[in-house]
């Protein structure tokens, strides 16, 4: 039980002291997760939305693929990207391995299916008169998607926050293609894992505390936005 007390105390000390390693991990985790969601969204949301609105014959194939993407183990994705970016791999010369860019690439691939499948769900549940309205006014796909986005805004924000949460808390990609370099590519989950294997439970609990606060924070915000939609 003293692990938690030590952890809380250590967390406070590390944060208030401005410990560079901890603050870097917080900053790295936040900016890679936000950027990954922002990069995936312009492609994932319109795709999912359009499939949900137009309901083509291939609709459920798409939904199935999105769900596969949501279920991919992060270590499998990490290993796959490692194979691509390793010196011996096809894209080794690009120098992505063990850089924050590699982490972002992996997290974009994690965020995409979440955003696509939730956008699809929001669009599919939309009143069909919305699409009809767009068509009668001679509007194309783009207008339909834009209208859908404004109608389902709360659901989409929730989707963004869930994708953000997935990126923030994942470990497989960060450690395998990130390498866990201190002050360069060590995200919060990587920090927790590495401190535990060093036997530094206080420091691990400290990083874990910050991570949980951020992750739960995203869930709580998504929850309240969802409630707003039900009104």
């Amino acid at each position: 039980m003293d692990i938690f007390a030590d952890g809380a105390r250590e967390a406070w000390a590390l944060l208030t002291r401005g410990d560079a390693v901890t603050w870097h991990a917080i900053w790295l985790s936040l900016w890679t997760s936000v950027l990954s969601v922002m990069l995936a969204a312009p492609f994932a949301v319109p795709l999912g939305a359009w499939i949900g609105l137009s309901k083509p014959r291939s609709q459920y194939t798409w939904v199935f693929l999105f769900r596969l993407g949501v279920g991919v183990p992060t270590v499998a994705l990490g290993l796959f990207l490692y194979g691509l970016f390793s010196r011996r791999g096809p894209f080794g010369d690009l120098g992505f391995l063990f850089t924050p860019q590699a982490i972002v690439i992996g997290e974009v691939l994690l965020a995409f299916p979440i955003l696509a499948s939730l956008s699809h769900a929001a669009a599919a549940n939309l009143d069909p008169r919305v699409l009809e309205t767009v068509r009668t006014h001679g509007g194309g796909r783009l207008l339909a998607v834009r209208l859908m986005v404004s109608e389902t805004r709360a659901a989409l924000v929730a989707a963004f926050l869930l994708a953000f949460g997935r990126c923030l808390t994942e470990l497989g990609v960060a450690i395998i293609v990130g390498g866990g370099y201190e002050l360069r590519t060590r995200t919060l989950p990587a920090q927790v894992s590495l401190e535990i294997s060093k036997g530094e439970f206080g420091k691990a609990a400290a990083a874990c505390l910050v991570l949980v606060v951020l992750a739960f924070g995203a869930v709580i915000v998504a929850w309240f936005l969802g409630q707003e939609r039900k009104r």
Binding site: R87, G179, G180, Y181, E182, R186, L194, S197, K198, G199
Partner: protein, 293 residues
């Protein structure tokens, strides 16, 4: 329903009986059958520990449960009585442990060497040769080699995890009162020797590695040994009998047996004949080893 419940109760009783009888009981003559050893990762990762403990169990019937933690943690285990024997490679810390009265006895177990591995980098080699020439000595200097790596702007990957290897790396950086300064090519992984070595290989970077792990992994790597032979790279292991169980406790007798066996003829035989990829990574106290791998 009642008969099914009775069957379940019977099954549960049988299981618990089975579980209880699985424990080893102390023989009437005293001395435990299972003792705990706290050690660090390099003896375990090379496979030496497994062989030693297997042979020990064959000879004495005592099972040793080994756990690998950091040096500091292993010594703490000894202090608190969480370990019956401690095996580490940190002489200063071991001496402090004994001086503080936590140990009954400390013996030299064996020793190994560290090597600096890295890519073929002529700029680094040139700087190193110049440093040696300026110092007037031809003897290999690991510290001078590390400084050549830094000054040439090459990349170095550190364990960065407060391990014995990491501590040795820092000792080399600060040898002769020098200050340790990171440079743009310095990386700290915070991970074990295996992952750190793999990362260094990926990055075509230099790193400090114990010979055992190096011999095990070198076939798969592009890196080569760049600096070896400096006495500062020698790494002695000490085996300690902690005081916590008291000199006459049951586990202490078995623990003493382990300490005596490891430093006795049988243990020394095992260490002497232990090879990885055709070479010996571990040497006995007082032995003069062949030149590096």
């Amino acid at each position: 329903m009642t008969s099914r419940r009775r069957l379940l109760a019977l099954a549960l009783a049988a299981l618990s009986l089975g579980a209880v009888s699985c424990g080893r009981s102390d023989p009437a003559g005293g001395g435990a059958r299972t003792i705990r050893l706290s050690t660090t990762t390099s003896a375990r990762d090379t496979g030496l520990l497994e062989v030693l403990l297997l042979e020990f169990e064959k000879d004495t019937g005592i099972e040793v449960l080994a756990v690998s933690v950091g040096t500091g943690e292993a010594l703490k285990h000894g202090e608190r009585g969480d370990a019956d024997v401690v095996l580490v490679h940190a002489r200063k810390a071991e001496d402090a442990f004994m001086t503080a009265g936590h140990g009954v006895e400390r013996r030299d177990a064996w020793w190994n060497r560290f090597v600096i591995v890295g890519p073929a980098n002529e700029a680094v080699e040139k700087r190193y040769r110049e440093t040696l020439a300026a110092g007037g000595s031809a003897a290999p200097s690991a510290s001078a080699y590390l400084r050549a790596v830094r000054d040439a702007g090459a990349m170095f990957v550190s364990r960065g995890d407060d391990s014995g290897t990491h501590k040795r790396e820092l000792d080399l950086w600060t040898a002769g009162g020098a200050k340790f300064e990171r440079w743009v090519g310095y990386r700290s992984t915070g991970q074990g020797m295996g992952p750190t070595l793999t990362i260094a290989d990926e990055e075509d970077a230099y790193t400090l590695v114990d010979e055992g792990t190096w011999l095990k992994m070198r076939k798969r790597l592009r890196l080569g040994v760049r600096s070896t032979g400096d006495p500062g790279l020698e790494n002695p292991y000490g085996i300690i009998l902690p005081r916590a169980d008291g000199p006459t406790g049951p586990r202490s007798a078995a623990a003493r047996k382990l300490v005596e066996w490891v430093t006795g003829p049988r243990g020394r035989d095992v260490v002497r004949s232990f090879t990885v990829d055709g070479e010996r990574p571990f040497f006995l106290p007082g032995e003069t080893p062949p030149p590096g791998p």
